[in-house]
Symmetry: D2
Subunit: 346 residues, 4 copies
């Protein structure tokens, strides 16, 4: 049994890690930290987990509990992983970090969007945990930076145009990413903006042209293509708990047909256990991936305007966070990549 620890386990990504790992045959959750709930048993905080972890209590994060664990999931607030990671790595631990702390490689880009970084040296060392693109590097990584939810949905939608035969088909300067996310992406801390009455029957954009996931997408695409990429990204807030639908627009430079692109996408993602390319005429819906680790992708060429519209759907808490974190752990630890993740959506 692989012993794991979850640092910062009382938010929605912590809850999802616990939910998913409850079904994992090769993993034991040794400790879960939470400043707020320290001393409480897991099901007291998350009644849906009654019957699971009945004897596991949240522990104080101070004093590095759980050091008997081999692998650590970091579900800490922004900036905290930078402090914890160096010590864990020195102790020979492996890390899947769910924060944004290690997702960017270029310290200047990090500091422009996020501010000062306390462990700059680790940025290059961290592996970007999108298995469909970086599976080999993940296998041997000590520090995996679990991708942001929006970048996961956008990068899987765009990747086939960036590292294969379709290179050069789209105009890289024309990319527009219009994303719509469920509210759980905003975290579990109560705010007026995410209260039921303020969200219910509403819909709006936020952080237009200024969301911090923008440079994350740009840097990965630059890494794939070798060229600087600048893109427009607009996130919106859906009145649902879970799910991200991303609609990507890009100008096409060569005539292509919808059916041919779909066939290419199917080939590109053949063998990937968690990417499902839709058939011609069908499109993703966040409902069809709910609770699962799938990313569904569909597309349509607009021949009138010479653009391709690519649409992807994920569950922001699963493929967009904790499910992908477990997928990374499975790859790092030699488990079947689908272990604990192979259930149909609900």
């Amino acid at each position: 049994m692989l012993k794991v620890a979850i640092l910062g386990g009382s938010g929605y990504t912590g809850l999802e890690l616990l939910r998913i790992l409850a079904r994992h045959k090769g993993v034991e959750v040794g400790s879960v930290t939470s400043r707020q709930y320290s001393g409480k048993r897991i099901p007291e905080v998350f009644p849906c987990l009654r019957g699971y972890y009945d004897n596991l209590k949240f522990t104080e994060p101070s004093g590095f509990p759980g050091m008997d664990a081999e692998l650590f999931f970091l579900s800490l607030p922004h900036g905290a992983s930078q402090e914890v990671a160096p010590k864990l790595l020195k102790g020979g631990k492996r890390i899947v970090d769910l924060s944004a702390d290690f997702r960017l490689k270029d310290p200047r880009v990090y500091e422009k969007w996020y501010g000062r970084h306390k462990s700059k040296g680790l940025l290059k060392y961290a592996v970007y945990g999108l298995p469909e693109l970086f599976r080999e590097e993940i296998k041997t990584a000590s520090l995996v930076a679990n991708p942001g939810c929006y970048p996961t949905s956008a990068l899987l939608a765009l990747a086939p145009f960036f590292n294969g035969d379709l290179r050069g088909v789209i105009d890289a300067g024309s990319i527009i990413i219009d994303s719509k996310s469920g509210v759980s992406g905003a975290g579990r801390a109560p705010t007026l903006e995410t209260s039921f009455v303020e969200i219910s029957e509403g819909f709006r954009a936020y952080k237009v042209a200024s969301h911090r996931h923008t440079p994350e997408m740009e840097e990965v695409l630059k890494g794939l293509s070798g060229k600087n990429i600048t893109l427009t990204f607009t996130p919106h807030l859906l009145p649902v708990a879970r799910g991200i639908l991303t609609t990507v627009y890009a100008g096409i430079k060569k005539p292509v047909k919808t059916a041919a692109l779909l066939k290419y996408y199917k080939d590109y993602y053949r063998g990937e256990p968690f990417v499902r390319v839709c058939g011609d005429g069908t499109l993703p819906d966040i409902r069809f991936v709910r609770g699962s680790n799938y990313c569904d992708i569909g597309l349509e060429v607009d021949e009138r305007t010479k653009r391709v519209i690519i649409i992807s759907a994920i569950d922001n808490l699963v493929k967009g966070a904790s499910g992908q974190a477990v997928q990374n752990m499975n790859i790092m630890s030699g488990f079947d990549e689908q272990e604990a993740l192979n259930a149909p959506p609900v």
Copy 2:
């Protein structure tokens, strides 16, 4: 591998059977019938199941397909199981019937609430598939009548008062059952009443004092207690897809305390894998059982008015239908009772 067939597999209970059985290690779904979708592959109709059953097609129900199956799930409209069941039983097949056709034992009660029955003789023969009350009978049954969703939630809430030390504590004539159900309980056929705009932001009662699940509850309680029971049942329609919360009111004839009753309930359901009794001060929420086979139960004594209020929560499509059907199949076929059902709620 146990080969099973699903007759009438294109509704929500059919979809849930397919979703749950996809994870079952000992079962193979040999055929699924659907008049409407005959010839289509499962994921064409249920895109959430893409990657599962990719090569299984819905077949025409006529001509008894799937006769190589050993066990049949009947998800047919009201009245249809009566026609199919005798032939299947003659062929040596075992049946879990998700309709109301075989839930009542007394033909007169059936005919009063439902009309004429075409296989009256089978009524006594059928076993009521609520494992927490009738596990032994289910083991050897050929024909299991899977309980209605409302009765499942109400009977598990009330049973401890009817067949154990608490007998006589409540006034059986005072029982009022106020239930609230998600919309999927109304089935998948499109109607104005269940369209999004007519349900969204709404809430209402329906079939007040006239819902057909009433005699089903009364008959089971009569069976447990040996006395005629008449109760008031009011179903309501919640603006959610899944879940039933049932609030039961009953007058108490002897002084009892909340804590003592909870302790009794915990003892009563000890060892039951799918009933979770809430601790003192906590109450069930349909959100905490969503997608799972659990029935959560809590209660409170109102000492001012000498009543007990018992509250239970289930997912109407899982413990209230397809999950319980798989639980019954597991019991009938000697599988681990939790097989394919042991995942935490989403």
Copy 3:
């Protein structure tokens, strides 16, 4: 023009008062207080009111602003109206208090459920602002206690059995009130319990047998009937922003028919502008009163169990709070009772 002030105007009842009064032809809102938003213009806090009150700013509550107003709406937290009311009344102001501070007449009952009261002497003096029952008293009242949302829905459902020809038809000791409310009833302050993700797709009971609206209902019914009434009340939380549906159960002591009761209810409420009695076979839905000051009422006799089930629907923020407050103001100030309230539900 009647000048009014709103003390504590930044919650949902404050917002609703502003929304409704924007259409009132005889009223000018002179000042609105808010500690949190002091100095901000109304539409900065409530963007839906852009174009209305564009030049009105929230003011600090200290120092009794708005003393040029003749009538005060108090939308203050529990306990605060007790401190403010005596000073306003001394200044000759009239008050509609939306808090619970003056709803109960008996100080002992108040202190049992709420704790110490700072202006006990005013309790008897305050008029309970349910116009359908106390219109005459409201006309000349200086201090109107606007009813709680749950009591409004329950009392309008029950009143015809308590002060007219139907007296004695129901067993007063048998009354059970099962209510379901939208989340706005919990107020605007952000909490984990009312955050979108914790409410969405959920449904649960809360404060079972212990909600403070219980004695309010009991006292009004006692006032109507002259007898002590003890009832069971269970509130539930619906995943919608607005609306209360209340299902009332009561044993009947004499044989009555649904149609006869409905006819009686229609007669009883004839001329009432905001009570709509449903026809036979139709039932209230919170969707049909949304945004309006209506209370819709339907009922059904369960002849098998000798009970009547009465169902009422209101918008908790309108008839359950701010709409009723404006209705009271209209009555107190000699306006048409329907002024600013006569729009169909949305």
Copy 4:
């Protein structure tokens, strides 16, 4: 009193017309037709309107009822207005047509997207009923084509760039319109696609690059600018009953600042009663216009990518349909343009 008739009054646009006109001081609804509900009184079909139109019955559409009316609202299915309009116009009636039949001026464009038109000659004659752009023409029009819901939201967002000082600032070939609509836009006829369970907790795009509102937007923008415009339009389906949020992307050819654009928009729409331009840093939300005739507009310049993102919000049933139809009627008939439409959002 202006007597009006509603042909096809049993859908959501019919219901909204009735709701809005109930408050109109100068209008009497003389007749409402409905094949399905002929003979029923309005509140029997729409219980929310109980207390309004209690004595008005739906009538059979055949035989041209309501010919004593002066103005006709046509809420008929696609293609039906073409047959009715010529006869009404010959009879001297004035028409506000809520269908797509007369929105396009160019018969070839109509036939490409919709098929054959039975009253081609009337296309040029009809006035496009977007008051903010065509108020003068509407005043004297006999046949007003009420705009589509998506075009209303997109055209009000884009118009300032097309007929004033900002001409030439955006690259007309770069326009992408990403819209998200509530489900009521799909009409009231029950379908599987719009049933509660299929929509709830879901979100998806539909008719990507092929929706019939595309040529409507293109033709109006061409009319304003004198140039052919080709744009990409992607509609999505939100799990809410009402509201459209449209996110428009366009490349900018000259350096402009967000604040300067907002100031220009405010000037451009100054005096318009139903367009509200958001302040810097605030953005529209469909919740803030719900139930009202407002169109809220905000924008942001993405200086990194040289694009402007314009966001507008309307209630698809009000400004996107029936509210705008009443606004057009008010203009045509000399009423105050805001009559019956001047209430704050709910």
